[in-house]
């Protein structure tokens, strides 16, 4: 799956651009970090790629097909993308299991994921595997999400994003609420998934991660890409 942004600008209010003429290619199997100060436009960039928002000008393309609101291609594209939202977007009144299993009912079952029936049969093992992959115990599956700590909720959100083994994982500050050990557990997981062929697009503030992982980094500032470092060698 390849995502391209061509001269993309985004504004929520007139005379106030959040993104300015952004050009970006994310190739299949690539690992890309997006960094920048708060308000630099990282979340807007990610929302444009997930299709939650649409460009004010320019074009966002997935495998050469431009995004169009409500189109069937758009929905198919979304099924190939896993998203970890900055605010987790968990359904607080449901169990952990119900939250993690949601994409199985809408998303495409990838080649490494067996199909799940409409009534949820076959989902149990996939949910357990996903929840263990992010370092949580399957014992929490029947508990309510609202009873979990912030770090646990963040990992549940990550488990939900990877359960379908999407072609592209987009994560907005996925380690923001995690301690050092869990942060590296998640980053290790991302790297393993990337080796298996999953493209990664991760927005983060954590310079330590960028230094150690050494993958492609783009630096956003005031809505524009200031640096596109394909070696991940730059220090911010």
């Amino acid at each position: 799956m390849m995502v391209s942004l061509k001269q993309v600008s985004k504004s929520y209010h007139p005379n106030s651009l959040v993104l300015r003429n952004v050009n970006l290619d994310l190739r299949k199997g690539e690992f890309l970090f997006v960094v920048g100060d708060s308000g630099a436009g990282k979340t807007s960039l990610l929302k444009l790629i997930t299709g939650e928002e649409f460009a004010t000008s320019g074009a966002v393309l997935c495998d050469g097909v431009p995004y169009r609101a409500g189109s069937s291609k758009m929905l198919k594209m979304r099924r190939r993308v896993g998203v970890v939202h900055q605010d987790y977007k968990l359904l607080k009144d449901r169990t952990v299991y119900e939250n993690v299993a949601i994409p199985l009912f809408f998303g495409r079952a990838g080649s490494q994921v067996p199909p799940v029936s409409f009534f949820g049969r076959g989902a149990q093992k996939l949910v357990e595997d996903a929840i263990m992959a992010v370092g949580l115990s399957p014992k929490i599956l029947d508990g309510a999400v609202k009873e979990l700590s912030g770090g646990e909720q963040q990992r549940v959100a990550i488990a939900r994003a990877i359960i379908n083994f999407p072609d592209l994982l987009i994560a907005d500050e996925p380690t923001g609420s995690l301690d050092h050990d869990h942060t590296w557990q998640v980053i290790d997981l991302f790297q393993k998934l990337n080796i298996k062929g999953m493209s990664m697009l991760v927005a983060t503030h954590d310079r330590d991660i960028i230094r150690k992982v050494r993958k492609r980094v783009i630096h956003l500032s005031s809505g524009s890409i200031r640096v596109d470092d394909r070696e991940g060698a730059c220090i911010f």
Binding site: M77, V81, K89, L91, R94, E98, I102, R108, G120
Partner: protein, 293 residues
């Protein structure tokens, strides 16, 4: 699994609006079903009404002997269940009750000016064609001046009730339209209260149909509860309604609002169906009107 949990969770979170939707729907549909069942009952009662089974036979003389001969002849006609002489006093009483001026005018006159008549009753199961033949046969008996078929009079009365039927149908449609608006408000409210969940499942590639499916489950559950509520209200209130009815039309002497199992199921099914139709069409419209990326 997701769809059922989403529907139950939604109803739980929107408990008050769900209850209001069910109660509002139940009230509207009970009213609509009452009108429908009333019309159904009214139509069904035609065969049971005594008036529909009787005829008045007017005799052209006040001679008691002749009147008794006519009675004997009438009793001999095949298809007549019973017949009796309506006494002059009964006739006077009838006039006194319904036509006091005429009663006063006749009271000072000789009894011979008061027409003599018979009341003839036909079997309940007799079909209209057969009765028509029987009435015609009675008309050919000597000294019979005129035969007034009660069925014909009643038909005219029921003809005027057609307008009541149209009005009732219009009112039922209007009540359903109100229920539709209530449901539309309910589902538009869901678009706001569940915006985060809709946005989330949309980001995983959910179609509008997938967004709608939990609503459909909710609609089925609410419709069943609404229908059940209507049936309970309608059929437990039936005896009270029957009592009130008898206060006005008690002279008919029949148990009103008789409903067999078939009619009961028809009414129950109709109410659930109307509620479901209102929910589903309102849900679809809300979904089409809502701005969902």
């Amino acid at each position: 699994m997701y769809f059922l949990s989403a529907a139950l969770s939604g109803m739980k979170r929107r408990l008050m609006t769900s209850i209001l939707s069910v109660l509002g729907g139940a009230a509207l549909l009970t009213a609509a079903a009452s009108i429908g069942l009333w019309s159904l009952w009214l139509t069904g009662q035609q065969d049971h009404l005594k008036a529909a089974r009787s005829a008045s036979v007017f005799i052209d003389t006040a001679n008691e002997g002749v009147v008794e001969d006519v009675l004997t002849s009438v009793m001999g006609v095949r298809g007549v269940e019973s017949a009796r002489i309506v006494s002059a006093q009964e006739f006077q009483d009838f006039l006194g009750e319904h036509f006091p001026d005429l009663h006063e005018a006749l009271s000072g006159m000789d009894e011979s000016v008061i027409p003599r008549m018979l009341e003839v009753v036909f079997p309940a199961e007799m079909n209209p064609a057969k009765r028509h033949d029987v009435v015609r046969s009675i008309g050919t008996i000597a000294n019979v001046a005129r035969v007034d078929d009660g069925s014909a009079r009643l038909s005219k009365a029921f003809l005027s009730l057609h307008w009541l039927g149209y009005g009732g149908a219009g009112l039922a449609v209007g009540l359903w339209a109100v229920l539709f608006v209530v449901c539309l408000g309910h589902y538009q409210n869901i678009l706001y209260t569940d915006a985060q969940e809709i946005q989330l499942i949309r980001s995983f590639g959910a179609t509008k149909g997938a967004i709608f499916f939990p609503w459909l489950i909710e609609a089925v559950l609410q419709s069943l509860i609404t229908g059940l509520f209507c049936a309970v209200v309608l059929f437990t209130g039936r005896s009270y309604l029957a009592e009130v009815y008898n206060q006005f039309f008690g002279t008919l002497g029949y148990e009103p609002f008789r409903l067999d199992v078939g009619n009961f199921l028809l009414a129950g099914g109709a109410m659930v169906g109307m509620a479901l139709l209102a929910h589903v069409s309102a849900g679809v419209l809300a979904l089409l009107r809502g701005r969902i990326a």
